[in-house]
Amino acid sequence: MKRGWFCQLHAIGRVGINMRNTKNKHSLLNDKKLTYGLFVLPGFAMYCCFFILPIVLGIYYSMTDWNGISPTYNFTGLTNYIKIFADKGFRKVLGFNIKYTVLLVAGTTCLGIFLALLLNSKIKGRSIFRTLYFFPAVLSMLTVSLIFNQIFYRIIPVLGAAVGSKTFSSNILANKNLAMYGILFVHIWQGVALPTLLFLAGLQTIPEELYEAASLDGANVIQKFRYITISYLLPTLSVVLVLTLKSGLMVFDYIKSLTEGGPGGATQSIALMIYNHGFVQNKYSYSIAEAIVTGVIIAGVSAIQIKFTERKKVQ
């Protein structure tokens, strides 16, 4: 790399730019490198010390049999990891999380884009709506869960009975088939705010003229949407996907407050299981191993997703 810089310099020199410009370019390059270095240093140093280091320690603990409280433990290598792959329970829970995440991602992106389009349209009072739609993200997850717990217990059954639907006349969180959708509703209720904001920002980058030109070419609404809107939104989509993917695979607060993994284990999620293993059952090192396996899965899927959208980006 360094050779590249110098080659460039030499080439410029050859073209005959005077000595003064060459000197400036040289010092500018040094200045750039120095500044970039200084910019990166504090954040990177903190990241390594206070983020990566604990993770490395965590990985080390996952290869022991530590229960989290004893002062002594033994190094066990990959035993925990082997146990995880043999554990039917882990796979069942992983299956739940995958299903949940797919629905979450689909729901959030579709709803997010839809809302962003609505909030982007030229209607009166749209800034009030914009303010309002971001509001759920301002609330704390614990409080939101408490509120919805009451809504599912008291209000939905009343509405369900009024409409004459038997399934909705009782708390859907108690229904092993519907509980997941109840949690999804709350998650999306709060989780769609930021993606909508990001999509809205993304929509601002699309030049109006493109739509007009497309209309003149005879494109209909769907084609315009597909070829213009989506293309420009791809970078935002990629970001939203990464964030939502993680949010879905590591969903914890909502599940703990709304169903605790019930009824009968129907909504048991990975994060809940990790918490139980780590803090309640004192199987600390095993829970860390589970967390790492989950992390690897999230990273893998996100990497695939990023590569995929990278290829389709608008240049």
Binding site: L41, I69, P157, T259, P263, Q268, V280, K283
Partner: protein, 429 residues
């Protein structure tokens, strides 16, 4: 240009320095437990000693009780200051403290395998030979030991049974049941009159798991023996008396609860119960204060849950609150003084009056009318230690999902099979 670079270099350096400085800031003021900045713990004059008390209960009554006791203690001992730290999510906090070697000097805890592990690993002080134990009821003192050693001062007990709305039963001309058969008959009668017999918070896994464990103990308080036989294969799960009886009992209870009990959490169940939503609630003595908060004039009485097998009915008791001292405390004498103070009858009385649970200190006058039937059993020794003190760590936690599934679909065989394999796995670790 140079100047600006200097500025940025300086500011970055300044940020780094500031962070570094804060990291190396005076350790004693930032790591010493307790929130009082006037502390001079371990100071030169050796005057005032500070100890931290971490309480595991967040209920207002328990906190008020301890505050009152701490105030009295500090009056008597002006050279000791006790800082009362209420714990949010005690489990997480105490585990964190254990890991960072910052255990509180004194803390309260309930009966749980986690603390026994802590004691075994030397985090909790061995209280052998302390004189104040002579003021504790001897049988409970025996029960509170681990491996024959005293690691805690047992304080209050909890019992488990059925809260009965005496007014509802009286209105309907029903007698308070004493046997399991009578309980079923009363339930049948209530249902035919359109009254829900049982209010159950089946949405709450903790409640479901606890009910499962207590019932299993009521069925056979030597549960451990039978479970070990299942674990080593001498009994097949399908032949287990405990598992089978529990499954059918749970099914009966479900039959006599509302259809939507799986959607009812604890708070909702208490609200339902006080609003005449049901006649009976299977719960523990700790709930009475909450029920009275919701409805101060409520007419309830607690009765023992009768043994479904028809055998002796014993009341499960659990040592609800105990006090321990951490082994790493720097003020051993002060902590022991505090425990000794708590073990005095008049102080235990203060605690009971505030908090309402039966107390194991001798001479404490405990007279909660609602618990008359339970107290009688306790005085007659017809009690046993709840299984959560005996079961291996994780057993209740893993089995309770299947208990909830049983409530959901009534499939006894599935529950028994699942419970069986969990027992085998856990005991054979």
């Amino acid at each position: 240009m140079r100047k600006n670079q200097k500025i940025i270099a300086l500011s970055v350096a300044a940020i780094m320095a500031a962070l570094a400085l804060t990291a190396c800031s005076n350790p004693s003021s930032s790591t010493e437990p307790g929130g009082d900045t006037q502390s001079n713990a371990g100071g030169g004059t050796g005057e005032r000693v500070e100890i931290e008390y971490l309480s595991h209960k967040s209920e207002a009554e328990a906190i008020d009780a301890m505050d009152a006791l701490i105030a009295k203690f500090c009056e008597e001992n002006p050279d000791i200051k006790v800082i009362h730290t209420p714990a949010t999510d005690f489990n997480t906090v105490i585990t964190t403290r254990a890991q960072t070697n910052e255990m509180p000097d004194v803390f309260s805890c309930t009966t749980n395998n986690t603390y026994e592990i802590m004691f075994r690993d030397g985090l909790i002080m061995d209280l052998a030979g302390q004189e104040f134990f002579s003021n504790v009821e001897p049988e409970t003192l025996e029960l509170s030991k681990y491996d024959g050693k005293n690691w805690r001062l047992p304080y209050s007990l909890s019992a488990y049974g059925i809260y009965i709305r005496t007014d509802i039963l009286a209105e309907n001309g029903l007698e308070i049941p004493e046997t399991y058969e009578e309980l079923m008959n009363v339930s049948e009668e209530l249902m035919s009159k359109g009254i829900t017999p049982f209010v159950c918070a089946d949405k709450d896994l903790g409640v479901v798991g606890q009910r499962m464990e207590r019932l299993m103990g009521i069925i056979d308080d030597n549960c451990d023996t039978e479970f070990r036989k299942i674990a080593d294969g001498s009994i097949a799960p399908a032949d287990s008396v405990i598992l089978n009886t529990f499954a059918s009992t749970q099914k009966a209870i479900t039959k006599y609860s509302t259809d939507d009990s799986l959607g009812v959490d604890q708070t909702a169940s208490y609200q339902n119960y006080v609003n005449d939503g049901g006649a009976m609630m299977i719960n523990g003595t700790w709930t009475l204060v909450t029920l009275k908060d919701y409805s101060p004039d409520i007419k309830v009485a607690m009765i023992p849950f009768p043994n479904p097998t028809g055998g002796d009915t014993k009341v499960p008791i659990s040592i609800d609150t105990s006090f321990c001292i951490s082994n790493s405390t720097k003020h051993k004498e002060a902590c022991l003084k505090f425990l000794e103070f708590l073990s005095r009858t008049e102080n235990a009385q203060i605690y009971t009056d505030f908090e309402g649970s039966p107390n194991v200190i001798k001479g404490v006058d405990y007279n909660v009318a609602e618990f008359a039937a339970i107290t009688e059993k306790m005085n007659n020794g017809e009690i046993f230690v709840s299984l959560n003190a005996v079961w291996p760590s994780g057993l209740r936690n893993e089995m309770r999902d299947f208990a909830q599934a049983l409530i959901m679909d009534g499939d006894e065989a599935a529950f028994i099979e699942a419970a069986g394999s969990i027992i085998i796995d856990t005991y054979n670790k």
